[in-house]
């Protein structure tokens, strides 16, 4: 058996310091796990396994529990985001105004599914629930930029802005 060695996880020094600082900002309190995950994902764009291991160690809880929370909430992701993350609102208003068709068009144009990244790392695709701009439904966000009343026919044009 080859399980007798301890497991070493490599992380960049500044990443280790960042995660430790975030945990310490929340008093290394395991009840603050969701807040810690939010801050960490905001920084890294996603939550890779090594990062979850370190958070678990810092909050003195099992990494299985951390992973349980990461996989329960759809907001958290273990896949790196693209340079331009594409988020399609599928909240009620957007949904009834045809968000599903818009989403399908993005899938087709980018050749990826929700939760994936294009091979060149440029675009990633996700769904979110209501950005509070229901008057503009259906709404799409790319990075910080918001697009309203998006029709499937407009998808190619929107994407060309970022290519």
């Amino acid at each position: 058996m080859d399980t007798l060695d301890n497991i070493t996880i490599k992380l960049k020094k500044e990443d280790i310091n960042f995660i430790r600082a975030v945990c310490s900002d929340f008093n290394n309190d395991r009840n603050e796990l969701i807040n810690v995950l939010h801050k960490t994902q905001e920084h890294f764009g996603y939550l890779p396994a090594e990062v979850q291991e370190l958070i678990a160690a810092e909050l003195n809880m099992s990494v299985a529990k951390v992973y349980g929370v990461v996989t329960f909430y759809s907001f958290f992701t273990m896949v790196p985001r693209g340079e331009f993350p594409v988020s399609i609102c599928t909240g009620t208003a957007c949904y009834v105004r045809g968000a599903e068709k818009v989403l399908d068009e993005f899938r087709k144009q980018l050749g990826i599914d929700v939760g994936e990244v294009t091979p060149d790392g440029k675009f990633s695709l996700s769904c979110l629930r209501c950005v509070g701009a229901c008057g503009l439904a259906p709404v799409v966000m790319i990075g910080e930029k918001t697009f309203g009343r998006v029709a499937p026919e407009k998808v190619a044009e929107i994407l060309s802005e970022f290519r």
Binding site: M1, I9, Q52, E53, S62, V63, A64, F72
Partner: protein
């Protein structure tokens, strides 16, 4: 002062019942003979173990004045409450709930290892379900094989008992509920294999799994093949806790000792020599007890840095636990191997020569109450040129099935006797099977070796019991020796943390991973949440001890002979080589990348 709890009177079906504040409807109903069915709920009262996520909804009841049905396992009784446990509405709801669970469960009961012993199956029978009306998603999941435990999560009903055991009771933290909806599963982090997680293989998840989702790795066919191989000499050792539980698999009352029948059954199965792990337990006491006395005398002679407390090392899940979670303490447990591995080392290096068999042709089989033993015998330290000291481990459950498979009428068997020279044992070896037993056995020998006096009374009642954390002070002829005992890894963690904080003044600590010690091991017949079964097994172990002529390990004539013929004296060079081991740091650590 705690406030006195009020009495509450409520009506359940036709019965009036008075209970204390804080009682659940489920418990109140039990008081008047109403057995509300439960599936996810599990309570081991004496050990403070309770699982009530109210997830399965099988235990719902009607509460007058409430719109929705209430899960009785978490609904507290209130004054004047009126409960219906068997109205048409309740019965329909329960049936629907169970059918929905069954609709996402593989219908392979005929070939499932849990068949006949499965809580879900008995529930389907009890509810008289003859047809599953619902057709829908069938979640599937890859199988995960570790050295000890098999996970077949297709069969998981998300009762979360395993998760409760792994996290609350054992504080191992290998398992957690992950993902959502039909994708939801109880799994290690990142859905990695159990073997790559912090799992200790204690098997308590298997012991409480209501279905066939978590089971033991089965080595029965390997053993059958070895027994049939004319080139092999196959010998067997059987652990103390097995004799106190095997009878349950044949319908005997919990706590029935079947030592003699067990020996006969093993002979019927074709083992050439039937030996006793109790013999190796006595050997463990010689080594571990001597090590303890050396460290203790080091301390009493003024060395403040003496390596104390000494921690027992018989339990392989406990070894995994401190290697993975407390590696900084890896130098304080005794270096003595477990009785299973001491037996294997002596068998392959001494007994094999004695009977003129090459070590590779001697097959050593263990019958153990434990799943971690399956892993332990595969550790590299316990192999010689790739040949393991112990070849196969069968659990008590596997042995029961093997006996049935071999057409042996267990109940009709006469009482057999263990073979020589590794079958003689003392009462001290027997009590290894229960919490507090190893340390009591060590005290019996250490006391006499240290003081040169004979113990008038060998029973140390102050070391016995079911409490998770216990301590006692034993008078070594004027010198107080402080003993700590923990069973269940959660209690072990509490003890280890107090050692780390420097708050602990124990000289010796016994730790067993499973609640109750080996009698509650993950390989034993299932207790289905009944803690009186564990108590009955414990009583049986002490009964076997008090019935023995010899009750102190150092008086075992076979042990005395083994030292004379082969090992020299405890902690000799030979003893170190064969009977001791070392531990590894297996914790996750973080390295700065350049």
């Amino acid at each position: 002062m705690t406030e006195k709890k009020q009495h509450i009177t409520l009506t359940i079906d036709q019965h009036q019942v008075s209970v204390l504040e804080g009682t659940t409807v489920l418990e109140a109903a039990k008081k008047v003979g109403i057995d509300i069915p439960t599936l996810c709920h599990m309570k081991l009262h004496d050990m403070g173990i309770e699982n009530k996520p109210a997830g399965c909804r099988v235990c719902v009841v009607e509460v007058e004045g409430r719109k929705n049905l209430a899960p009785s396992c978490v609904t507290l009784a209130t004054e004047g409450m009126k409960i219906r446990t068997n109205s048409v509405r309740v019965l329909n709801a329960r049936q629907t709930v169970l059918e929905l669970i069954l609709s996402d469960h593989p219908a392979d009961c005929l070939v499932c290892i849990k068949s006949g012993n499965c809580d879900l199956q008995s529930m389907a029978q009890r509810f008289n379900i003859r047809n599953i009306t619902y057709k829908g998603e069938q979640s599937t999941y890859r199988e995960d094989f570790s050295p000890s435990v098999i996970r077949e999560m297709d069969k998981c009903i998300m009762c979360r008992r395993c998760e409760m055991m792994c996290n609350q009771v054992q504080t191992v933290g290998a398992l957690s509920g992950v993902n959502r909806g039909f994708m939801a599963v109880v799994s290690p982090a990142f859905e990695q294999d159990l073997q790559d997680s912090v799992c200790t293989f204690c098997g308590q998840c298997v012991a409480v799994c209501p279905t066939g989702a978590l089971t033991e790795v089965n080595h029965t066919s390997d053993v059958i093949k070895s027994l049939a191989d004319p080139r092999k000499t196959v010998i067997v050792q059987t652990a103390p806790a097995v004799r106190a539980a095997l009878g349950e698999a044949f319908g005997l009352e919990p706590g029935t000792l079947v030592t003699g029948k067990l020996v006969s059954a093993l002979k019927e199965l074709g083992f050439e020599y039937v030996f006793d792990t109790d013999f190796a337990a006595d050997l463990t006491i010689m080594e571990e007890g001597t090590e303890f006395l050396n460290r203790l005398n080091d301390f009493f002679s003024g060395n403040e840095k003496a390596n104390l407390p000494i921690l027992t090392s018989c339990c392989p899940a406990w070894v995994n636990f401190f290697e993975k979670q407390f590696p900084e303490l890896k130098d304080i447990p005794s270096t003595a191997r477990s009785p299973q591995q001491m037996f294997g080392a002596v068998a392959k290096n001494w007994f094999a020569k004695k009977i003129g068999v090459k070590r590779e042709d001697l097959i050593v089989v263990s019958i153990m109450p434990c799943l971690a033993k399956k892993y332990e015998c595969q550790r590299d330290e316990f192999k010689s040129n790739g040949d393991p000291d112990v070849n196969y481990v069968l659990t008590t459950r596997e042995l029961a099935r093997l006996i049935q498979l071999a057409n042996i009428d267990f109940m009709a068997l006469p009482d057999g006797e263990f073979d020589s020279p590794m079958g003689e044992s003392t009462g001290a070896g027997v009590i290894f099977g229960t919490t507090g037993g190893v340390i009591e056995a060590a005290v019996r020998t250490a006391y006499e070796l240290q003081t040169g006096k004979t113990l008038e009374k060998v029973d140390f009642e102050q070391l016995r019991g079911m409490e998770g954390l216990r301590h006692a002070t034993i008078d070594f002829d004027g010198v107080p020796v402080h003993i700590g005992i923990a069973h269940g890894l959660g209690n072990a963690r509490r003890l280890l943390e107090s050692i780390q904080r420097g708050e602990c003044n124990f000289h010796a600590i016994e730790i067993m991973s499973c609640p109750g010690g080996c009698i509650g091991g993950g390989g034993q017949p299932l207790h289905h949440g009944k803690s009186k079964i564990l108590k009955a097994r414990m009583a049986a172990i002490y009964r076997e001890d008090s019935g023995k002529k010899l009750r102190k390990s150092h008086e075992n004539p076979d042990i005395i002979r083994l030292y004379e013929e082969f090992l020299g004296k405890p902690l000799s060079h030979k003893a170190h080589e064969l009977l001791h081991t070392n531990y590894f740091d297996r914790q996750v650590n973080f390295l700065e990348e350049n």
